[in-house]
């Protein structure tokens, strides 16, 4: 296997809130073009980790390196340039409620100098269609959309500038199984056609089976283990074993052959 480019490199991360230490000496590598699923029990700091990489939370110690830039010590301009190369989708989309979906997607594009407004709105329409929303959804306000549509619109905004990396926080939480499966397919498809690196925080075993190339397990304040789904099944750690061998995991695993057939075509 050839040496793959590392796009996110975390070393020795330490996060703490008051006396409660969430992460201690945490290391993680994410490779270009892969879909990494981050799992862990409640309170193990999955979202905190995402926020740390995206620069929303400053770690007490350690280094965060994204696309060759030291995030923690970068100056304002470098950070700005970097922020245009990643997109974040928050749990409920975090769309600006006073703007329509199309205007929401145009927000990151407004930062680009000299971009013709007509082209901007056409590109926003394209993104809306790429995430599987109807054309007319572009004129709606976030409050008029269902949860699944808001997530799709949030993803479209995260993808507005064709980022190298997208961070997804619980993309399928609160969706019905059909909607969740469709969203898994969407992530997989977009990652393939746009060459995206996806950092995905989830609880959903089906999502892990259907979309992720690699899984990182957060436990005991660090990344306990990373590897493919197959590797996870062989890990001899009580929590990891329970997680990947529990009744829900078995059900998801049985569904996997069908999911991988779909992936093939």
């Amino acid at each position: 296997m050839t040496e793959r480019e590392v796009v996110i490199k975390l070393r020795g991360i330490r996060n703490q809130f008051g006396s409660q230490v969430v992460h201690e000496d945490l290391d993680l590598d994410v490779y270009r073009g892969e879909i990494l699923g981050v799992v862990g029990g409640s309170g193990t700091g999955k979202s905190v980790l995402l926020r740390t990489i995206a620069g929303l939370q400053r770690p007490a110690a350690g280094s965060v390196d994204v696309l060759g830039t030291d995030v923690l010590n970068a100056d304002e301009d470098t950070r700005q340039a970097l922020e245009n190369r990643w997109g974040v989708m928050f749990q409920d989309g975090a769309l600006f409620s006073s703007l329509t979906v199309r205007e929401n997607i145009e927000v990151p594009m407004r930062a680009i100098p000299g971009l013709d407004p007509a082209i901007r709105s056409n590109l926003a329409d394209l993104k809306i269609s790429m995430v599987g929303l109807q054309y007319l959804a572009g004129d709606k306000y976030p409050s008029e959309l269902s949860g699944g549509m808001r997530k799709r619109a949030g993803l479209a905004r995260a993808l507005a500038l064709d980022p190298d990396i997208v961070f997804l926080d619980e993309p399928t939480a609160g969706l019905d199984p059909i909607g969740a499966a469709a969203f898994d397919q969407l992530i997989r498809g977009l990652s393939h056609s746009l060459g995206l690196t996806v950092f995905l925080v989830t609880h959903d075993l089906d999502t892990l089976h259907a979309t992720c190339d690699r899984i990182a397990v957060l436990a005991e304040r660090k990344v306990l283990v990373t590897g493919t789904m197959q590797d996870m099944l062989d890990v001899d750690h009580p929590w990891v074993h329970e997680y990947f061998h529990g009744p829900r995991a078995r059900a998801a695993a049985q569904a996997e052959p069908r999911a991988s057939e779909k992936k093939g075509d």
């Binding site: 409620s97 971009l115 590109l123 394209l126 790429m130 409050s143 393939h192």
Partner: protein, 357 residues
């Protein structure tokens, strides 16, 4: 034709102008092997060009695409949105009339809803009298403190200052006629009859209508109201009755406090500015001013209280599941309550003038 350089969202505006200038006969193939970067925006421009030429009956093939570029082009081509015409509204006279009619009807519906809430409150109040065990006394006391006791400092200070202003303005005008002593009548009648209770109601509307809307609205937003219903608790009995009843009890008391503070402020200023001693002020007040004025003022208090309480509770129940509507309804409640209080005051003024009190 060969394309080179980056074709991304940063360069697409210029590139598209050039691509649009091309006539269908100029090009047969587009070689993109020399592009160092292609993103969705660039792919969109290429696909648009292809579509435009295809409409002119000419096929342009894109060659030299790397596998990533090919898959990007393919997915963009599949996703090309089809513009759907949005039904456009033309502002004809009929449309304007239609909109105006709807506005009027929604205003009527709003008034009906407020009346319904008033009826609901009275009904539940009657029920609480018949079944005292259902009534929430602790809640009532809590709201009396929130609505009444905590409003005393602001209401008293406001009324005191109004008294001071009246005395000061009145004295400068009345001195021209040598009728300084009538400043007592001026202060007494305007504070007792109108200003004391009206300004108290306005302050309470600002303070309390917004608080009612915010409290009930956030419960509505988090489905707590629905939870109450499923648990067999009546929101009107548990939320509206204690709040509106607390206002009914406390607003007259606040009005009385405002009257006293207003007279005190006026008296103090008359003493300092005009040399009307407190004893003289008192004598003039008791002799020259009928006690009717106090009643005319305070009889309005319960009506104002009902208006403020009903408007606040109704607005709270209109909150939907987003935070924006909570903010909008809260400010709506304050504006509506203050407006309604002033309208009611005007109606009372006319009524009292007609019956000659």
């Amino acid at each position: 034709m060969h394309l080179s350089g980056p074709l991304t969202i940063y360069t697409v505006t210029a590139a598209r102008t050039e691509l649009q200038a091309l006539a269908p006969d100029d090009v047969s193939t587009l070689d993109i092997s020399a592009l160092d970067r292609l993103d969705t925006a660039g792919a969109w421009a290429l696909v648009q060009l292809q579509t435009r030429f295809a409409d002119a009956g000419r096929d342009v093939s894109i060659t030299g695409a790397s596998s990533e570029a090919a898959s990007l082009l393919e997915s963009v081509e599949q996703a090309m949105p089809e513009k759907q015409a949005v039904a456009e509204e033309r502002l004809t006279f009929k449309a304007w009339l239609d909109r105006f009619g709807r506005k009027v009807m929604s205003g009527v519906a709003f008034l009906r809803a407020l009346t319904a809430y008033l009826g609901m409150f009275l009904h539940r109040l009657g029920r609480a009298i018949r079944h005292p065990s259902e009534f929430r006394l602790t809640s009532l006391v809590h709201h009396c403190e929130e609505v009444g006791l905590k409003a005393v400092p602001i209401v008293a200070l406001m009324a005191f200052l109004i008294g001071v202003v009246l005395a000061f303005q009145g004295s400068t005008q009345l001195r021209q006629f040598g009728a300084e002593v009538f400043v007592v009548d001026l202060i007494a009648i305007s504070v007792l009859r109108e200003l004391g209770i009206l300004l108290t109601a306005i302050i309470v509307a600002g303070r309390t209508a917004s608080a009612f809307t915010a409290a009930i609205g956030s419960m509505k937003m988090r489905e707590e109201i629905d939870a109450m219903r499923t648990l067999g608790l009546d929101p009107a009995m548990n939320l509206f009755v204690p709040r509106i009843l607390a206002l009914l009890i406390m607003l007259p008391i606040l009005g009385l406090i405002a009257n006293l503070a207003g007279l005190f402020g006026g008296g103090l200023m008359s003493w300092i500015d005009l040399g009307i001693s407190p004893a003289m002020f008192m004598t003039r007040l008791v002799e020259g001013t009928s006690v009717d004025h106090v009643f005319v003022g305070l009889v309005k208090a319960p009506f104002f209280a009902l208006i403020i309480g009903v408007v606040g509770c109704h607005a709270g129940m209109q909150v939907q599941s987003n935070a924006e509507s909570l903010g909008r309804m809260t400010s709506n409640a304050v504006v509506t309550a203050i407006f309604a209080v002033i309208v009611a005051d005007a109606v009372f003024s006319i009524f009292f003038a007609r019956i000659g009190i």
